[in-house]
Amino acid sequence: MTRLIVSPSPHTYSGESVPRLMYGVIISLLPAFGVSVFYFGIGMLIVTTVSVLTCILFEYLIQKYILQTKPSHLDGSAILTGLLLAFCLPANIPFWMVIIGALAAIGIGKMTFGGLGNNIFNPALVGRVFLFISFPVAMTSWPEPGQWMQYTDAATGATPLALMKEGVAMRPAGEILSEMPSFLNLFLGNMMGSSGEVAAFALLIGMCYMLYRRIITWHIPVSILGSVFIFTGILWLVNPDQFANPLFHLLTGGLMLGAIYMATDYVTSPMTGKGMLIYGAGIGVVTVLIRIFGAYPEGVQFAILIFNGFTPLLNKYIKPKRFGKEVAHG
């Protein structure tokens, strides 16, 4: 007879694994990817391919030669980082910048902290912010949707958020809004913006899939979107001339992508439901503050990075509800 295996209980496992979770997220990104290709064509394809491949490559090289551990470049997390990085870049950005972004994301954002599970900040956002600060022009000239065959030579313009930011100083918000794509178009993603951020409906489909597969919980997306809606709603009710409609804030910029994919990153978000709600609400409030009162038209990425930094604190002080009242032992 073979030697019996002995191990502590439990002796049965759910079969869930990190690659399964990561590929689950990747699958949920497919609708948004499809929509982006539909709007931005070949540019989106090039940026995404370069981003994903270089993220995998850098992960492999760093793990193998610098950290000298067993490479885990195919566990899906590098692919996911690459995809998310591509999603928050303009589709006309030169590919060598994408490579630099991928290096920043994997190298600075992830591997310096010790790889998957140890990073404090969301790697894709680190890459994006790195590029945003290094190449402000390239990162803020967005191609107009519908130019399938143009890559870096596509005609560009400003995002609705930027237009709004510049406009409200001179004119009432309602008037600017009327010159922009309709809410339906914003919902469908027919606007200028980072390649994967535009299609709110496709991202929401992805969220439903992730909720169904129980990859994420509702706490973070709901609290971010909810707090943005409430905060901008209050401002709008106070002064509709100076502040835009809350729906406009929900549907534009990187909010949907940020709330559904960036902020819900396992590693950099809090561990408890209560913690997640606080984290999400904080991100929402800071996003609105930056959008309306800050220097930049868009603030989701900064808000998420700021609250990534608060996550260890939230984990330390926000505890789940324990079962049963505490009584003195003995």
């Binding site: 295996i5 439990p10 002796h11 049965t12 694994s17 789940p320 324990r322 079962f323 009584v327």
Partner: protein, 444 residues
């Protein structure tokens, strides 16, 4: 009927109740049985027989030492061949009595007839005494002496009796079989326990994956003070604290017992044993054990004498399949893996589960990705990922303030971890170390 369940955490492993619906088969004793003297939580009992003594079935062979301890009886008749140390299910050596079987002679006072004795003639004190004498312990697996639970501590009052027919562990079906075949005896058993405790109300909780048991028990308890409540299938609903929460929405305080919220919980197996002890004067010498496994020829429910070697049970169920890598004493979530098949069935053995090669091994451990699954599934509201980190770093004081002693070791966290981290292994280590700290503090 509206199904109830507990609110916090929980998982739903594949049920795999392969032996469901199989009749309980009486298993003839093996040639030699080994009866350990420590089959319960508490002080080991004191052996009162010697090598060479002739014993009868039901004869006392080891007496309880103190209050939290139990009597142990010979489960077979024959000659005591050894009083020595034998490896228990963990491989550590414990004192046990080995008996060479000879005939099947029972102690005369035991009523071996099949007639159902409905009338409960004894009063509460006498019931408790019978249960002490019969050496009954919790048969759900925890093996806590039953008479201790029947003795309500001063200043507390039992209000409800909860009977645990949940059987939330995958594979196991012994309680299910008992409810189907011995429902009338169970009814009397519940009434005995109610009388012993002095409570007016009893609830029998059964998970909805046993609809036949629910309807059978509902039928038989009609017109009594016993209600049957169906429960949503969710592990670990059979845990005392979870069951009390599910049925009565009361939370047992940290470090407390169900009696702190006016409840006493017994397993159906325990209740059945109490019936036999009180009405039939039969000590706890046998129990129902599920023997099961995906590749086993005949997954079965056996009535087995205590002390029978596990290998004998597996043989009777069709022999050990070639592709067996792990044998579990108990269910796959909380049971103990056996290092050898020569160990005996004890009072706490609810099942023997055979696991094949493909499912036996753990996957490679990778780092925590903080997916929060362990926090979500913990039925006690703890943070297993944190506990494991603290235990690895030997920060046991902090573990205590994070309430590691609340952990019921249900294994939901390890079960669900996508990184296959041995969370419960480390939590258990931490619990032991924290318990040591608490003890040393008490000593000072």
């Amino acid at each position: 009927m509206k199904l109830k369940t507990f609110s916090m955490g929980g998982v739903h492993p594949p049920e795999n109740k392969l032996s469901a619906g199989r009749e309980i088969r009486e298993l003839s004793p093996s040639d030699v049985v080994v009866i350990p003297v420590s089959q319960h939580l508490g002080t080991p009992s004191k052996v009162i027989v010697e090598r060479g003594d002739q014993v009868k079935v039901g004869q006392l062979i080891a007496r309880a030492e103190g209050f939290v301890s139990t009597n142990i009886h010979a489960s077979v008749s024959g000659k005591v061949s050894k009083v020595d140390i034998f490896p228990d299910s963990s491989g550590y050596r414990r004192l046990a009595v080995q008996i060479k079987v000879n005939g099947d002679e029972w102690v005369e006072t035991i009523d071996r007839s099949g007639t159902l004795v409905k009338e409960i003639s004894l009063d509460a004190e006498e019931i408790r005494k019978r249960i002490v004498e019969a050496g009954i312990v919790g048969l759900g697996g925890a093996t806590f002496p039953t008479h201790v639970k029947l003795t309500t501590p001063r200043g507390k009052k039992a209000e409800y009796l909860i009977v645990n027919g949940v059987e939330c562990e995958p594979y196991l079906t012994s309680d299910h079989a008992l409810m189907m075949e011995r429902s009338s005896a169970l009814l009397v058993g519940i009434q005995i326990m109610m009388k012993g405790l002095g409570v007016e109300k009893a609830i029998l909780g059964i998970e909805s994956n046993k609809p036949d048991a629910i309807s059978r028990m509902q039928e038989i308890t009609r017109g009594t003070a016993i209600s049957v409540q169906g429960l949503k299938v969710k592990y670990p609903q059979g845990g005392e604290k979870q069951l009390v929460k599910a049925l009565l929405n009361r939370e047992v305080p940290s470090g407390g017992l169900p009696i702190d919220v006016g409840v006493v919980v017994f397993n159906v197996g325990t209740v059945h044993a109490a019936y036999e002890a009180v009405q039939k004067n039969k000590p706890l010498i046998e129990r129902v054990v599920t023997v099961t496994g995906k590749y086993l020829k005949q997954p079965s429910n056996f009535r087995v004498r205590i002390g029978t070697p596990v290998s004998h049970l597996i043989e009777q169920a069709g022999g050990l399949p070639e592709d067996t890598a792990k044998v579990i004493n108990g269910g796959p979530m909380m049971g103990k893996a056996l290092a050898s098949l020569d160990v005996p069935v004890v009072k706490g053995t609810s099942g023997i589960v055979l696991i094949s090669n493909e499912e036996a091994r753990r996957k490679a451990v990778i780092q925590c990705i903080r997916c929060t699954r362990c926090v979500q599934v913990c039925p006690m509201g703890l943070e297993p990922y944190l506990m494991m980190n603290l235990a690895e770093k030997e920060m046991f004081e902090r573990m205590e303030t994070e309430r590691v002693l609340d952990c019921i070791e249900c294994g939901s966290c390890s079960y669900t971890c996508p990184s296959s981290r041995p969370l419960l292994d480390y939590i258990r280590l931490g619990k032991a170390e924290v318990a040591k700290l608490v003890r040393s503090r008490k000593a000072v």
